[in-house]
């Protein structure tokens, strides 16, 4: 009998019993937090998008120097390949004898996967593939790797566990609970990892004499690889700037692991962190490190905030697409294209109206994402007519639709080909040839009352 039962029976619990009951209840709630619902889905999704964008930026920045950095004869000491290790065959394949010459393939695969993920082709499998590709690319240039790369590898691994679809899921079966628990655990691990980074760095800094004496920044900014002539000048001319910077860094790294968990203190510590890391990015020239450290703060943002940011980012005009169900091949093609478009940016209606054009696309000017409380049913009623300021029919409409998913790289050639065909004025004829109305329906149309009239 626990404290609550005793209370219900009218007997007051003993103080120790009450406290134990409370602790048990909190433990239960804590365990249920993992399993009952997908926590912070918008945060997970926003973080995934920003994180993949950072990974893409990191590789794109290196592309102009790819030969210098990744080629087999580049000036770098690489880890020797261990042919007996499965880990090496998967995550260090780029170092395997015979594969070294194909460094561009690894880079292209990573960039391709990231582009696909950023355009909506996302799943845990895609994240896992990105992880494998990223580790292979990183293995080719170990001297480039800094704390930001170390953190990105760890976060990528945890991200494989996370459901980043942005859907609010509530567990109904034990299988759901397991999936949701794994996803929530990934989020917790990512947050804890960020805290571990600061905790470790803060503790190590306390052992450094220059950090204790407030002069670390003065000395760091004298090194030409981690400075800028202006920064050097500033800390030499105004030494107190260096001292304040040193102690602020120390205080930040010590306070972050605590302050970030409390709602009231979180905005302050995150703001300070952003300022500090932007300083590192531009002042010290460690751009990618500074940016990823700013980016990981997204993990600590509240769900309301990240949902708003996602809504703002997704505020593109929605395409309202109406396709005739009796046009051969067209409904399937249009549905596939709509699936590749960014979420919520295409509203698809299949109509049986024989008077309707085979494909009609309208662009709705006022669009927003529904708020969390707004019910959006599955397959909700869609308007029969297409509204909006801009409308396109036939080939032009198909071109408009492929333009919406143009950044999904396998479809880029399709979009280009359609644009060329449309530009040459052949769009209408080819559209008629490719997507004829099914004959049986044509016959039905000829004998319909509308046709007779």
């Amino acid at each position: 009998m626990n404290a609550n039962d005793r209370l219900l029976e009218g007997r007051p619990p003993t103080p120790v019993g009450a406290h134990l009951g409370l602790a048990t209840e909190r433990l239960r709630r804590g365990l249920d937090w993992f399993t009952e619902a997908e926590r912070s889905p918008s945060t997970k999704r926003l973080f995934r998008n920003l994180f993949f964008a950072w990974l893409l930026l990191h590789t794109l920045l290196l592309l102009p120097f790819a030969r210098e950095i990744f080629a087999p004869d580049s000036l770098v000491i690489r880890e020797p390949f261990d042919a007996s290790s499965l880990v090496h065959w998967v995550f260090r394949l780029s170092l395997a004898p015979g594969f070294e010459g194909f460094y561009t393939v690894f880079v292209v695969v990573q960039v391709g996967l990231l582009c696909a993920a950023l355009t909506g082709v996302t799943s845990r499998l895609v994240t896992l593939l990105i992880y494998v590709a990223t580790l292979n690319v990183n293995a080719m240039a170990p001297s480039l790797l800094d704390g930001g790369n170390n953190l990105s590898e760890l976060l990528l691994l945890y991200l494989v566990l996370v459901d980043t679809s942005g859907h609010h899921r509530i567990a109904r079966t034990d299988w759901d609970r397991l999936r949701i628990a794994v996803s929530n655990a990934g989020l917790v691990l990512m947050r804890l990892q960020v805290v571990i980074v600061y905790l470790t760095a803060g503790m190590l800094k306390l052992n450094g004499e220059l950090w204790q004496r407030g002069m670390a920044l003065y000395y760091i900014l004298q090194a030409d690889a981690f400075s800028h002539p202006w920064m050097n000048e500033i800390v030499t001319r105004w030494p107190w700037v260096g001292m304040i910077g040193t102690y602020t860094t120390l205080a930040f790294q010590w306070l972050f692991p605590t302050m970030v968990w409390f709602r009231r203190t979180r905005p302050w510590i995150l703001t300070l962190g952003v300022m500090l890391h932007l300083g590192i990015a531009f002042g010290m020239g460690l751009l990618t490190f500074g940016l990823i450290m700013c980016l990981v703060y997204v993990l600590f943002l509240e769900e309301r905030t990240t949902a708003r940011v996602l809504a703002w980012l997704g505020a593109v005009p929605r395409l309202e697409v109406t396709v005739r169900g009796d046009a051969r091949r067209l409904p399937g093609l249009v549905a596939a294209l709509a699936r590749l478009a960014p979420a919520d940016s295409v509203r698809l209606t299949v109509t049986a109206d024989p008077q309707a054009p085979r494909l009609l696309v309208g662009e709705s000017p006022a669009l927003r994402r529904p708020s969390e409380d707004e019910p959006v049913a599955q397959g909700d009623a869609v308007p029969a007519s297409v509204s909006g300021e801009h409308r396109w029919c036939g080939a032009a409409a198909l071109l408009r639709l492929t333009a919406r998913c143009r950044w999904t790289w396998p479809f880029f050639p399709l979009h280009l080909s359609l644009a060329l065909v449309w530009y040459l004025g052949l769009g209408g004829r080819l559209f008629d040839l490719a997507f004829p109305i099914v004959a049986a329906v044509e016959d039905a149309r000829e004998h319909s009352p509308a046709a007779v009239r």
């Binding site: 804590g30 030969r67 001297s143 699936r339």
Partner: protein, 264 residues
């Protein structure tokens, strides 16, 4: 596509939602325990040497490496504050050496000018050649001092200054470093820079390590010196074999231009 949007529970409304049972709690507890174990392993891995770390070292290392490897020094405890340079000079078939020139000068200039481009990463890439070489030299110096102290029957001096240190200068330890990968890398760097500059006419290249330490804080306004101290370690010249191809990269071309400018 709107059909995919699912901001609310996906199960049909009429399906009764079961509360958390013992299995559900078990799942939650299992996940929480796994997270706890992972955090504990990370704490032991990152923590200072202690009894737990000594007794669990192998288990922890097997768990953490290579996927959960963590390097969070981030300029601590002692931040890197020296500037390492690798000037290069080349000898032509006529036997004349060009003046020493830093092939990365232009790259550094671009890095200072364009902070949002990839030059910072390239600086990091080339900087590591010099810093690896410096580490090898410093380690060899330590080893040299230790062996001399042992030979003299005394204890190794704690401070790096003084007479014993003077006996193990960077130049003294260079012969010990011939087989070091960092030396081989620095020499390849020199060969490339020379080849980019003089092509097939270059017959030898030489690189030296310059390690500049900043002026101490107390002497920051002292105009008589630019640096606090400088360590100079020239590596032996290396012969340049005829180039198989002349596909010079961006960095090499920059190096070539700089060397050409510096040449008399």
């Amino acid at each position: 596509m709107e059909e995919r949007r699912d901001p609310k529970p996906t199960a049909p409304a009429d399906e009764p939602r079961k509360g958390p049972g013992s299995l559900a709690r078990g799942i939650g507890a299992g996940v929480a325990i796994l997270i706890g174990v992972h955090v504990l392993m990370t704490a032991i891995y990152l923590g200072p040497p202690n009894l737990a770390k000594l007794s669990l070292q192998e288990v922890v290392a097997a768990y953490m490496e290579p996927f959960f490897r963590q390097r969070w020094h981030l300029f601590s405890p002692m931040p890197a504050f020296d500037s390492v340079k690798l000037p290069v000079r080349c000898r032509s078939a006529s036997g004349e050496w060009t003046p020493w020139a830093d092939p990365l000068e232009d790259l550094y200039r671009q890095h200072y000018r364009f902070r949002v481009l990839g030059h910072g990463k390239l600086v990091q890439f080339y900087h590591s050649i010099g810093s690896d070489l410096r580490e090898s030299v410093v380690a060899a110096q330590e080893s040299c001092r230790q062996s001399r102290a042992e030979a003299e029957g005394g204890e190794m001096p704690v401070e790096t200054d003084g007479e014993s240190a003077a006996q193990c200068t960077g130049r003294d330890v260079v012969p010990l470093l011939v087989s070091e990968p960092s030396v081989e890398l620095a020499q390849r760097y020199a060969v490339r820079a020379c080849r980019a500059n003089g092509g097939d006419s270059v017959v030898a290249a030489q690189v030296k390590l310059l390690d500049f330490l900043p002026k101490p804080f107390s002497k920051r306004h002292d105009e008589s010196a630019v640096w606090g101290s400088v360590m100079e370690v020239p590596l032996p010249p290396i012969e340049v074999a005829p180039a198989e191809s002349s596909t010079a990269s961006l960095g090499e071309r920059a190096a070539g231009l700089l060397l050409a400018e510096a040449a008399p």
